[in-house]
């Protein structure tokens, strides 16, 4: 740690407070799409800055420009330590100490922790002999600096995701980083793991390393960063001090919308109960969960990742059997042995991981839409009737307003929002009584988000019972009739949006 501090002190003499990196007039066009339009960005040594914005706002493009992967359009000014760095390549970016920790980490699962951290020493055009001892020593030094203990010889695949995250941070530091980008580093971490990572971020900052933090978790952002740069639709909205910034204000800056739309205020207390769950437990995922959902009701379920919400949803969908407790669907106690039974009983589950679990990417839009109801499409010859399938597909594509070229095109050609609609269509085709939506807006941009919620409201109005799971609290606040807060496998709070404020709930969840 002392060495790092002295490195900062001995670094190029710059005026105090002068930016380490300053970018002006950054634009980038991909084909006809303007990903970035005249964006500004600056960061000082040792500063922790947040880069905020909705998905598709240009964050990744900006990171790629700063790390030399993309070149900005003409007219851009890029200064690092006061020197121009135009024509930056990935290699020169690395030489300047600009390191990116991508969300997928880009680590090597089969290799040891030590080699993952010190992999840089294996690079270079000329083959060299490997010095395992030096790699191990370098890795140990870095982990020591981070104040973390890991088994250096364990292969990476045996590590939990939080530990891998630390390995990725350590790898960035081996290369004498001056500026580290962390892309959604906490997206799959629990609260304790997140706290541990934030300690490390502060430590880097104390060593004079600038950290750019990209996160959707606004509470975290406001907590750890000193300033926040907001992008929206590829444009620069502004850089604001986090002092005095609220989550609500930040959300408004990111989305460009003031959240003045009303919360749900419907009286559904006389509607018949569709789902009733009593004292449901499944060790160690969740315990003593009780809830009811009425016809036409949207119940929001929020809580941090690892709170047990997804496991609860999977239990209701028959994929992770509960150990004790009862589930009653329209007055009949049910105990699903598999999700096939759940589907037959009228439960649909739209998974969190749309890209991997919800859709078969290379298959056509039509095939994806029909996949859960193939049996109902059989013609008299017991083969799938093309006519019935296209009728079904056309109905749903029309009803949900999916923008597609042709039903025969691969589903991977669609945008995030339209893919999400296809997932919905697939499950709606099963004609469910209870629809469970697990984080339906992940990876969906602002406009499409509103469209998806419009569909959800339409379904609720038609009488479907909906369990809406999301860690984006505004999503549940403005769309659900009631909100349940889950933490460590228990329901710890229940709110009615009309009777409380968004900040109250956010405060409770992120506390």
């Amino acid at each position: 740690m002392t060495s790092a501090l002295s490195r900062t002190a001995d670094g190029p003499r710059i005026q105090a407070g002068a930016p380490l990196l300053q970018l002006d007039h950054i634009s980038k066009r991909f084909g006809g799409v303007k990903a970035l339009d005249d964006v500004r960005f600056d960061i000082k040594r040792g500063e922790v800055l947040c880069l905020a914005g909705e998905n598709g706002c240009g964050k990744s493009t900006l990171i790629k420009i700063i790390s030399g992967v993309h070149q900005p359009e003409r007219g851009a000014a890029m200064l690092f330590d006061g020197r121009s760095i135009e024509g930056l390549s990935p290699a020169t970016a690395r030489a300047l100490g600009i390191q990116v920790i991508w969300q997928d980490l880009a680590l090597f699962p089969e290799m040891s922790v030590a080699e993952n951290i010190a992999f840089e020493s294996n690079l270079g055009a000329r083959p060299r002999l490997v010095n395992y001892r030096a790699m191990r020593a370098a890795a140990a030094r870095i982990l020591d600096r981070l104040g973390v203990k890991l088994n250096l010889d364990a292969s990476l695949r045996t590590l939990a995701i939080a530990q891998r995250q630390i390995v990725a941070v350590a790898r960035a530091l081996v290369a004498e980083a001056t500026l580290v980008f962390m892309d959604e580093p906490t997206a799959s971490l629990s609260q304790a793991e997140t706290d541990a990572l934030l300690v490390i971020v502060r430590r880097l900052s104390a060593e004079g390393i600038a950290v750019v933090f990209v996160s959707h978790r606004l509470a975290e952002v406001l907590d750890v960063c000193s300033r926040v740069t907001v992008l929206r639709d590829g444009r620069f909205v502004g850089t604001f001090p986090t002092e005095g910034m609220t989550q609500t204000r930040l959300t408004e800056l990111m989305t460009g919308k003031t959240f003045d739309y009303a919360v749900q205020e419907r009286d559904l207390s006389s509607a018949p109960v569709v789902l009733s769950v009593e004292n449901l437990s499944r060790a160690p995922d969740y315990a003593n969960v009780s809830l009811t959902i009425r016809r036409g009701e949207i119940v929001g379920l929020t809580g941090r990742l690892g709170s047990g919400r997804t496991e609860l949803a999977l239990s209701l969908f028959g994929m992770a059997p509960a150990s004790t407790g009862t589930v009653t669907l329209e007055g009949t106690p049910v105990r699903f042995a598999s999700n096939r039974e759940a589907i037959r009983a009228g439960v649909a589950y739209v998974s969190e991981d749309r890209l991997q679990l919800g859709l078969i990417q290379p298959q056509s839009i039509a095939d994806n839409t029909a996949i859960a109801v193939l049996d109902s499409l059989l013609g008299p010859d017991h083969l799938i009737s093309a006519r019935r399938q296209s009728a079904l597909v056309d109905t749903w594509i029309h009803d949900l307003g999916v923008k597609i070229g042709h039903p025969g095109h691969a589903v991977s050609t669609l945008s995030g929002g339209n893919q999400q609609r296809i997932v919905l269509a697939k499950w709606l085709a099963t004609n469910p009584k209870l629809l469970i939506l697990d984080c339906p807006t992940v990876g969906v941009d602002v406009g499409a988000r509103a469209g998806i919620f419009a569909i959800i409201h339409k379904l609720a109005k038609a009488g479907m019972a909906i369990l809406l799971i999301s860690d984006e609290i505004p999503d549940v606040y403005f769309n659900a009739d009631r909100i349940l807060h889950m933490r460590n496998g228990r329901i710890v709070g229940a709110y009615v949006p009309g009777e409380t404020t968004l900040d109250t709930i956010e405060g409770a969840v992120h506390a």
Partner: protein
């Protein structure tokens, strides 16, 4: 990291090999004799050379089934070209065979890398292409009049024992050199570590700045080199060049290499594992022979052994057993 770390798969294989060796030693009078063990090594050497090459490709995340027919092509090309070098000698032969082999390997790398075609598809195509060309041009005719240096048996170590004459052939020496070179490449050079990285996480490898194209040419070129050398040694061992002598051997080698712990997805595998995997299969065959079991049963038994060994060493079994004990250790997705 200890220099000679022996992984779980390898330890397991050593255990099986020792157990089988003891059993065969007790059941047959000949198995545990120096002549038999040396013969086993002489006969396996070519497969081990092939296996060393294939390992490099598997580690880099590829697969190649064309290397045995490539080796046959190299045998022919070498037999045709050595007269141009005044009949040649071992040095010329190894140089030519290595060069032809590397070239054929690079043909695979070219299609796989330049056109981003899955390696199994490319090598199925080149497998047929190479073999078809070979049969077409040779007319299926074998070559028996090879130069003397090529066919004369070279003994690098010979000794008389109570159970007869035991000797190690040149093939074993060449195999040892190939194995050492591959070990050096994979374990001790930065390039080798980049090969592992590429197979382990291609996107991650690209991001840290590994030259993916160069790695493809290196991996498939290395297998080509080994195939060429292996082909030369096989012709030396058989004392003739027969166009379909190696046809079909690729799957035996592949199975043995995977048995030795190489992962088909890439990123994992050791040269020791290759050696043990091939020795285990050869030992089984040799043992069955000595026990007087019908040769028709060999394939069946070897297939079953590979299946059992791979099932036992896979993580799936551990997971299955683990999930019986602890029903819920799923991490939050």
């Amino acid at each position: 990291m200890p220099r000679l770390r022996i992984g779980g798969t390898e330890r397991w294989l050593i255990l099986v090999i020792v157990a089988m060796g003891v059993a065969l030693g007790l059941l047959t009078p000949t198995f545990l004799t120096l002549p038999n063990l040396f013969d086993l090594l002489n006969a396996s050497a070519v497969n081990i050379i092939f296996g060393a090459g294939l390992l490099v490709v598997l580690i880099a995340g590829g697969i190649d089934i064309s290397f045995t027919v490539a080796a046959s092509v190299v045998q022919y090309l070498t037999a045709i070209t050595v007269p141009l070098f005044g009949g040649g000698d071992w040095a010329v032969g190894l140089l030519l065979a290595g060069a032809f082999g590397t070239l054929l390997g690079c043909v695979n790398a070219f299609f796989i890398y330049q056109f981003r075609i899955v390696s199994i598809v490319v090598t199925i195509a080149t497998y047929n292409l190479f073999f078809g060309l070979l049969m077409f041009w040779s007319g299926g005719v074998s070559i028996y009049d090879l130069p003397d240096w090529w066919t004369t048996r070279v003994v690098i170590f010979g000794t008389e024992t109570a159970s007869g004459h035991a000797e190690l052939s040149l093939t074993v020496l060449v195999m040892a050199l190939c194995v050492s070179a591959t070990w050096l490449l994979l374990r001790r050079t930065s390039t080798g570590r980049q090969l592992y990285a590429l197979g382990d996480n291609p996107e991650g490898a690209r991001r840290v700045g590994i030259n993916i194209g160069a790695m493809h040419y290196l991996a498939f070129g290395w297998l080509g080199l080994m195939a060429g050398i292996g082909g030369l040694m096989q012709a030396h061992y058989a004392q003739e060049v027969v166009p379909n002598a190696l046809y079909g051997r690729e799957l035996d080698v592949l199975a043995a290499v995977v048995l030795g712990g190489a992962r088909l997805g890439g990123g994992r595998g050791t040269i020791l594992g290759v050696f043990l995997g091939i020795i285990l299969v050869a030992m089984t065959q040799n043992g069955l022979n000595l026990l007087g079991i019908s040769p028709y049963a060999f394939k069946m038994i070897i297939g079953a052994i590979i299946l059992v060994a791979i099932t036992l060493s896979s993580e799936g079994v551990g997971r299955l057993i683990g999930s019986w004990r602890r029903p819920a250790e799923r991490r939050a997705a």
